[in-house]
């Protein structure tokens, strides 16, 4: 069953004198519970596409539909590429995690208690609940951002480069959490990644390319669920990896 349908999406930016088309003819059908990885060069328009999917920006043309949910009632879980600046520095961990419920005017004791419970459920027991963002490591900040994205039980999760600027252990932990959440809740997840080693979580990988950018290719990742890191050593994964690499090398050689 299709959960998210993106059809004919276009985005233009105008500085008053010139109009620049950044995205053109973006089409994507995402099945319920599917994980999609999006790849593409820096500055190609991945974050713009994510901002449109998350409802932060409006498309110039085209539509995004979530099946069975009214547009106004869609709940999006969203983490930004720069997880440090997306956390409110004047809020502690629990207040940051519980922002989605604060916006719904849930009383403070209740939302803090629920945030604490969520962090425990996610296995983030070592995350200091009353610490402020400037007292946390990069990996801890990303955990807070991820927990916040999950806090209001979103219909879909959009993660903009969730593994960027993290050390190897933090990347492993975050990937394990994403894999567990997906396994438990069958949540639809779309994420951006530059690292080929990080696409093992995805069911399909979309390649965004061109000016204006559009999806020029898609690759299936046929691995059993739940996904584990050691699957990156499998023959099937090596095949997908190699196909993507070959395609990308051809594309970038043309530039």
């Amino acid at each position: 069953m299709i959960e998210i349908q993106v059809a004919g999406l276009e985005k233009d930016f105008s500085d008053g004198k010139q109009t620049k088309k950044v995205l053109n003819s973006i089409n994507m059908d995402v099945e319920k519970g599917e994980i999609i990885a999006i790849r593409g060069n820096n500055g190609i328009g991945k974050t713009t596409l994510f901002n449109i999917l998350a409802g932060i920006e409006s498309p110039t043309k085209g539509s995004i539909n979530f099946s069975g949910v009214e547009k106004k009632k869609i709940r999006i879980g969203y983490t930004q590429q720069d997880y440090t600046s997306s956390l409110l520095p004047w809020f502690d961990v629990l207040d940051n995690v519980s922002i989605p419920l604060r916006l719904l005017k849930v009383p403070k004791p209740e939302r803090r208690q629920r945030a604490d419970q969520l962090l425990s459920n996610l296995g983030f027991d070592n995350l200091p609940r009353d610490a402020y963002p400037h007292q946390l490591s990069g990996g801890q900040k990303q955990r807070v951002a991820l927990a916040r994205a999950l806090f209001h039980e979103p219909h879909a999760l959009f993660l903009d480069e969730p593994f960027a600027n993290l050390d190897a252990q933090a990347i492993k932990d975050i990937q394990d959490v994403i894999s567990q959440i997906h396994h438990k809740k069958q949540l639809t997840i779309v994420y951006i990644t530059h690292e080929l080693d990080h696409i093992y979580l995805a069911d399909r990988v979309f390649l965004l390319h061109g000016k204006p950018a559009k999806f020029i290719d898609e690759f299936k990742v046929n691995l059993p669920r739940p996904r584990k890191r050691n699957m990156t050593l499998s023959y099937d994964y090596g095949n997908v990896r190699s196909h993507i690499l070959t395609r990308e090398e051809k594309l970038y050689d043309k530039i």
Binding site: G55, I56, Q80, D82, S85, L88, I99
Partner: protein, 259 residues
């Protein structure tokens, strides 16, 4: 930590005051400086004691603080909301950037007589001078604090993705983010409000206030009392400054302290 810093680390200000008083005492007791310019510490102590036992000085301090604070509070009431709105509306700000910079470049003292013409010689003209000087500083600090930069845009995007209303975005990201800049602007303005309050009392026909007292003692050559009022004024300014510094730290505890 050395033994010395362990003992004196928290009392550096006592040491510095001790040094200043020591130099003062030497200068006056060895007659290095004419007592007309610098009274002896004994004379100064007597003058302070005499002033503090007379209720006039308290009424004067209150009059000065009242004018400075009313001017400051009015500046804050007008400049903070205006700055928050202008900071978010870059297009509108571009229209008023020039007049703001132009008026900021006119020293408040140059407008003394214009304000007397408009508001008369009462408290209103003095408060207007304080308001003029402080409001532009607070306005510019607030605009700077409310301006969208990359970090703030990330926070606004995050809240928008969680379907925050425009008011929630404004309250949770814009206002909170601007608070350190606003309090920094207020802290600078507190000192300026006292300076302007004092100067207006000297030159705009005041009948009371610490500025008036300094001017009167100067005219009567009562130098120790003039020094005494200056020191009381310094303590008042120092207290205001510290108060706002504490407030600034409380509101921006996540940022490194700037003394």
């Amino acid at each position: 930590m050395t033994k010395y810093s362990a003992i004196f680390g928290n009392f550096k200000w006592v040491v510095s005051i001790g040094i200043i008083l020591g130099i003062w005492w030497l200068s006056t007791s060895l007659n290095w400086i004419n007592p007309l310019f610098l009274p002896s510490l004994d004379d100064l102590g007597n003058a302070i004691r005499e002033l503090l036992t007379n209720k006039t000085i308290y009424l004067d301090a209150f009059a000065t603080a009242y004018r400075a604070l009313i001017g400051l509070v009015l500046s804050a009431i007008v400049a903070i909301p205006l700055g928050l709105v202008l900071g978010r509306m870059q297009g509108v700000y571009e229209y008023i950037e020039f007049p703001v910079d132009f008026f900021r470049s006119i020293p408040s003292s140059a407008l003394f007589f214009l304000f007397i013409l408009v508001f008369g010689v009462g408290d209103l003209s003095k408060i207007a001078v304080v308001f003029y000087g402080c409001s532009l500083i607070i306005l510019v600090a607030t605009i700077y604090g409310a301006k969208v930069n990359k970090e703030k845009q990330d926070r606004i995007n995050m809240l928008t993705a969680f379907r925050a209303t425009p008011f929630q975005v404004f309250h949770l990201a814009v206002v909170r983010d601007a608070l350190p800049h606003i309090t920094a602007g207020l802290r600078i303005s507190v000192s300026l409000s006292l300076v302007l309050g004092i100067v207006t009392e000297m030159f705009l026909g005041a009948t009371n206030g610490l500025g008036r007292q300094i001017y009167d003692f100067y005219l009567r050559y009562e130098v120790p009392k003039m020094y005494a009022v200056i020191i009381i004024l310094g303590l008042l300014g120092f207290a205001f400054n510290k108060l706002f510094f504490i407030l600034e730290r409380k509101l921006s505890f996540w940022q490194p302290a700037e003394k």
